[in-house]
């Protein structure tokens, strides 16, 4: 088996850059053939290494399966357009990073990125027409078209992220202003602001995605219509098409990520941190949750003790899920985590006015964080149950 693996590694190495159909099957077949030959040679030589080398010697040359586009890309020396496209991409990435620090800088970088791409692709487009009309050089024409299409998808995603982020920020501020004018007490929690921001961001991102996808195909069609040799454009389209969205695969990957054995423990720790942060802010200024149990001897103290016990149990359940990796344990931990979060939040909420009277600071940021934890637990739970139901239906 060791030698078979060695042969398989060799075959995988030969095919690493080859773009062929059913690659795994081909590798399996060729590995099996070479391994059979190895066994015969081993019987003859009684020497593993010698038999291996002899078997490999007969593999031959698979160069005709080389992915042609790899060679084709490097047929011409790079010109300024190559650099322009790279800089446009770098600017796009920088815009996405800088939007967290400075909106103005992000806008400037996005505009620069778009300008650079448009000018470089305009040059390439006319160059492609020139090469075809004057030199009848289809390969050079193809090369120019390839350069236009190649970075477009990545750029669209980066521009979309940046623009969606900026528009979402703007719209959230407008919504916040309108709501606050009508009701000054509404929309003060950071949790609410983040939720609205995320929702607006997602909506704008989806709308822009649809628009840019249409624009992408429009650009490709436009190029196609302008040229006599349409087949060359189709090559570019075929290679750089948007991948169809495979919902099932997306669902499966999300489920795998959520159903990770570490997840319940992570949730347990986050819930604990959230409760501790909440008590730190609300119960008494700069005191820990534990000290409150000692301090309060009445019902509040009892609630705190019970909650502490539940918190420890939650962490233990998280550890058990990590060790045993059982779905039942994961579900129990998550349900328990969500329930505990809600229970603590409600009980603290009732006490809030009491402590507020005593002049304790009520941290708005803590509110947001706590709401975020509770909502995450809830969404996580809904997703897990949803996926479980879907997989049950699939089995049937």
């Amino acid at each position: 088996m060791k030698m078979k693996n060695k042969i398989r590694k060799y075959v995988e190495y030969i095919f690493r850059k080859k773009d062929i159909e059913n690659k795994e099957e081909v590798i399996e077949e060729i590995t099996a053939n070479i391994f059979d030959r190895y066994l015969d040679l081993f019987e003859k030589y009684q020497d593993e290494e010698k038999a291996y080398v002899e078997a490999i010697k007969h593999v031959g040359d698979f160069s005709e399966f080389e992915n042609e586009t790899d060679d084709y890309k490097h047929q011409y020396k790079p010109d300024w357009t190559n650099l322009g496209m790279v800089i446009a991409l770098v600017l796009g990435v920088s815009a996405v990073i800088s939007m967290f620090f400075s909106s103005i800088l992000a806008i400037i970088l996005i505009i620069l990125s778009i300008t650079l791409y448009v000018s470089a692709s305009n040059y390439l487009y006319h160059n492609a027409i020139y090469e075809f009309n004057n030199n009848k050089d289809v390969i050079k024409q193809d090369d120019a078209l390839y350069k236009i299409i190649a970075p477009l998808k990545r750029l669209f995603v980066l521009w979309n992220l940046g623009i969606s982020y900026l528009i979402a920020g703007l719209l959230t501020s407008i919504i916040q202003t309108i709501v606050t004018v009508n009701d000054p007490d509404a929309f003060t929690s950071i949790g609410q602001v983040i939720s609205v921001y995320l929702l607006v961001f997602i909506i704008i991102f989806i709308i822009l995605y649809a628009v840019l996808k249409k624009l992408y195909f429009h650009i490709v069609d436009r190029i196609n219509d302008s040229l006599s040799s349409k087949i060359n454009v189709n090559v570019a389209v075929k290679n750089y098409n948007f991948k169809p969205i495979n919902l099932q695969k997306i669902f499966e990957s999300i489920y795998k990520g959520l159903n990770n054995r570490f997840m319940p423990l992570i949730i347990a720790i986050i819930v604990n941190i959230a409760i501790e942060t909440l008590s730190f802010e609300r119960i008494s200024f700069q005191s820990t949750y534990l000290s409150e149990i000692i301090y309060f001897s009445d019902l509040t103290g009892t609630i705190f003790t019970v909650v502490l016990g539940l918190r420890i149990t939650l962490v233990l359940a998280g550890v058990m899920s990590l060790i045993f990796n059982k779905n039942v344990l994961k579900f129990i931990t998550i349900i328990f985590g969500a329930a505990l979060s809600i229970f603590v939040y409600i009980s603290f909420d009732n006490k809030m006015s009491y402590y507020a009277v005593h002049g304790y600071k009520i941290g708005v940021a803590t509110d947001g964080f706590f709401v975020f934890v509770a909502v995450t637990c809830f969404i996580y739970l809904v997703l897990l149950i949803g996926f479980k139901i879907i997989s049950l239906f699939k089995k049937q």
Partner: protein
Amino acid sequence: MKVEGDFLRGYTDAIILSVLDEADNYGYQINSHITTITDEKLRLTEATLYTSFKRLESDGFIVSYWQDGTNTKRKYYSITTEGKKYLAIYKKIWGENKKIIDKFLGGYENEK
């Protein structure tokens, strides 16, 4: 003396089809069969063998299926009716070509 590969390269497909005409078989066994029949004067490389399989399969002359073997899973090939027809034509053309070449280069009979 080993048979020169260049000369036989054009006949690889026909040779494989003729082996498969006897029975379904998998890559290594087909190659071993060819080596035995030619007294080890002809052994196809994996690349040649696989290229030929791919070509014959896409032309519809052979079909493949997986079967569990002793050490590993094997991909078996089987000749189709179209493949048999193609082989018959090939044999006919080979017979005619052989006669033509023999007239210039001579066959065993001329050597004697």
